[in-house]
Amino acid sequence: MHVVIVGAGEVGTTIAENLASEHDVVIVDIDERRADQMKYDLDVLTLAGDGTDSETLRSARIEETDMFIACTDDDRTNLVACGTAKTFGDAFTIARTKRIQYLRTWERTQQAFGVNFLVCTDLLSAENIVRVIGLPSAVDVDPFAGGLIQMAEFEIDEESPIAGQTVAEADRFESLTFAGLFRGGEMILARGDTVIEVDDRAVVIGSPESVQLFAADVAPEATPDRADEIVIVGGSEIGYHTARLLEERKLSPRIIENDHERARWLAEQLPNTLVMEHDATDTEFLAREHVDEADIVVASLESDEKNLLVSVLAKRMGVDRVVAVVESGDYVALFEEIGIDVAINPRGVTAEEILRYSYDTVAENLAVLENDQAEVLELELSDSSELVGRSIQELVDEIDAQFVIGAITRNRTLVTPRGDTELQPGDHVVVFVETSFASKLAAMG
């Protein structure tokens, strides 16, 4: 595969490192010295030039490119680069952006700006933080349909209240589907009367809120609920999205932000978050607001140094779990060494997400479960799809495959699948399916 990467920063380098051994990689960077440096560090072809310039791209053999990844630090450069690349051929284009507005625009048609896949760094980082703090008990979590749907896999331990319950008893949430169970490494299709046993692994698909509630049922000790105090220090974009996603999961965090205008903006956007305008490194203030009694502190200030300071401070005050955003990949290990529970590196997270896409040639979103016994697929139904126009009950009866329709989104709103729900063109369907039937089902979408 011929891969062109624009931007030789942390993200571009990580991706190049991973792809270089098996693919033919060209890196384009505007900074000549950095491009040169890359040539010696990695076994790739480097080009110094502007990634939005068609001449530069032509030198990178853009016409024969299979995959084009624009991951500079500048959103607009990345979008323009993808648009430019699309004029030369049919490379699969991936762009990285920071601002969520571009993601929201892109989601409308999923091909805006000539981008085939768009990774929003800040949102992705926030999703990771929320997963770490919101679903610590989950073995695996994956978002689908732009975050409207979540798939999570939980291991049922002895303490879990749902051990010994039937599936029907455990699945008491409106917008949640109990997709499947793994027992002793074997997949079993869950029926309403199947009893959940200790050491089972349960896969659920539904709205983020319902998954969060289910997690609280599975592991009430580890899962935060409304009574738990979550403090986000720093109202950066990542801090904002973290709070927003927590609100979506019916949790009420607090945000500490020093800038007046920004604090007001956050308070307007986040009705269920208590926004406090103050310097987060003022220990007297932290004590007065009882931040020491917080269950979770997220450090999401703009600089690593401040995040380090806040994290250490929180740890010393006795906060249970501290999650820090670390912009510089080199410091991740340092943060974790001094006792910060989780360090999230936005660039690392972005590179990982892009790589996840580049391994599979198909652009569909999927998650592989339990050594590839089962997969969770997201299908966008076309007009001619064989699944369209039939009720779910009919599909289950007719199709000779082990699958469960976990959730549907229609016009970006969640539709809870029922036996009589009829699938329509344009629906995004998230299906839990035994791996051997996955490609068959995907072909029907």
């Binding site: 007001r264 956050l266 308070a267 009705p271 208590l274 926004v275 406090m276 103050h278 203030f285 607001e289």
Partner: protein, 503 residues
């Protein structure tokens, strides 16, 4: 001062609009004219008024210039003068008819201004001596005042952001302050239909009660007269006993129309166009219904426990609900002489005068949205006194209200209270000057009832009484304050600032 080259108000644009309104006023004047023809009464009062309004309107149009841009300042000037001039023209038939107290020009202007501002305070003493066409003109001018304020409140004041009026739920949020005209006419057309429709429904309901024999004295004349002033939340009635002159079923039937008249017409528009639940998603509406229910229950309880009052169960509840609704919606009808109620009940009704209905309706007074924002912001103040660093926007129906708007609303409340107290003091002092017997509470209630455009007060100016007893000086000041209070204070007060004219 118009010769001054530094005048920064495009008054020619205002004059053109004023002229147009005055010329159009001839249309509604044809209605009492027709009534006069039907009953064989004198046509002269209305013919004179039609002549004057044509002449005056023509004069303003001659001075005005339709090409000039109507911006916020020009709108303020036009609004203030339109209300003043229409009230003046409205007084002409009373003076020309020359019957009773309203033959005096000041009294006629009081009656006309009270009508146009949908106040409902009257200086009539003997209702029976006036012709049916004059009494119908009194009703119609209130209905016109209701329509006028509706268009003003939804299309103009919300755009100009007077006292937090921009918070009103409107169908589109435009911020183009320099071109008001297209939006006014568009909104006006929409609201006009809705207003006429609701009025027609009210006529139908009331007349049906009359025809069916449930309320024998509710003839077509009365049905039209009361439909006009209930939907306009205005309060005039050709009957000296107001709605109390009719059967209980009529009294119950009038309540929903007063409430509809004091509900945001934009909300009503959405509700009847396929989204009825929007009403209940609107926090102001829920709050407003809550205050109505709360005060109805409190007043009913006060009446039940009052040994002096023995209406019977149904009548006690009816009088409590009707009169609370009448005051809160700022209509000013009465079904009983609440002057005779206990001080506790009277005090409750007095408090109700300051509430008002929803923004964007025909209601007067301070209005529930302003109270809601003020209460929420006070509650926020309590929270931030414990957590000084907390940033908490005040939210209405989930939408944050910006801090400047909250300050505007506080200023509006304070201004209303100050003007109310100044007017009270004036009424008391002036009564002492002429040696009239006006108690402080009577003076307070009369001040509130006129400035907040409620109508009936307590004492001599009570629901079955008259404002005729006040001196001409007091009545003149009340005329001015009804005018100021009706158009939300600011459009009149800004005219008296130097900055309005020159900067």
């Amino acid at each position: 001062m118009f010769e001054n080259a530094d005048i920064r108000v495009g008054w020619r644009a205002s004059f053109d609009l004023i002229g147009a309104v005055l010329v159009y006023l001839a249309g509604p004047l044809l209605f009492p004219l027709a009534v006069a023809v039907y009953y064989g009464e004198s046509l002269l009062p209305f013919l004179v008024a039609i002549g004057v309004t044509f002449a005056l309107g023509g004069g303003f149009r001659y001075l005005g210039d339709p090409e000039e841009n109507l911006g916020p300042r020009e709108a303020f000037l036009a609004i203030a003068l339109i209300w003043l001039l229409v009230a003046t023209v409205g007084a002409i038939p009373f003076v020309v008819a020359g019957t009773g107290t309203i033959a005096h020009p000041i009294n006629a202007l009081f009656e006309s201004m009270s009508g146009l501002t949908t106040t409902g305070a009257t200086v009539l003493l003997d209702f029976s001596i006036h012709s049916r066409s004059i009494m119908m003109w009194r009703q119609l001018i209130q209905w016109l005042g209701g329509l006028g304020i509706l268009i003003l409140a939804t299309a103009v004041l919300s755009e100009l952001g007077v006292g937090g009026a921009q918070l009103m739920e409107s169908e589109t949020q435009t911020r183009d302050l320099n071109k008001l005209t297209p939006r006014i006419s568009q909104t006006a057309r929409l609201l006009w239909g809705l207003y006429v429709g609701i009025t027609a429904l009210a006529v139908g309901v009331l007349y049906a009660l009359g025809v069916s024999g449930l309320a024998p004295n509710m003839d077509l004349y009365n049905a039209v007269a009361h439909a006009f002033t209930s939907v306009a939340t205005a309060g005039f009635s050709p009957e000296p006993l107001s709605v109390g002159a009719f059967e209980p079923i009529v009294q119950w039937a009038v309540v929903p129309f007063m409430v509809v008249g004091s509900t945001s017409f934009v909300l009503i528009y959405f509700a009847i166009n396929g989204d009825p639940m929007r009403l209940f998603r609107n926090e102001e509406f829920r709050f407003y219904l809550g205050t109505l229910a709360f005060f109805s229950v409190v007043v009913a309880a006060t009446l039940f426990t009052d040994p002096e009052i023995d209406y019977g169960t149904e009548a006690t509840i009816r009088h409590a609900v009707f009169n609370v609704a009448s005051i809160v919606t700022t209509t000013g009808y009465a079904t009983a002489d609440f002057n005779l109620w206990s001080p506790a009940a009277k005090q409750m009704l007095f408090l109700c005068m300051f509430l008002g209905g929803m923004v964007g309706s025909t209601t007067c007074s301070i209005k529930s949205l302003r109270w809601l924002v003020a209460l929420k912001s006070l509650k926020r103040g309590l929270f931030t006194s414990i957590h000084p660093e907390a940033v908490r926007p005040v939210r209405i129906s989930g939408n944050p209200v910006d801090e400047e708007t909250i300050r505007d609303i506080y200023a509006y409340l304070l201004l209303s209270i100050i003007i109310f107290f100044l007017l009270t003091i004036f009424v008391v002092v002036d009564a002492a000057r002429v040696g009239a017997d006006v108690s402080e509470f009577d003076a307070m209630s009369a001040a509130a009832a006129t400035f907040l455009n409620i109508g009936p007060a307590f004492g001599d100016a009570g629901p079955y009484g008259s404002y005729d007893g006040f001196s001409m000086a007091t009545k003149s000041v009340m005329i001015v304050l009804m005018w100021i209070g009706r158009i939300e204070i600011i459009p009149v007060l800004v005219l008296f600032t130097k900055a309005f004219w020159t900067s």
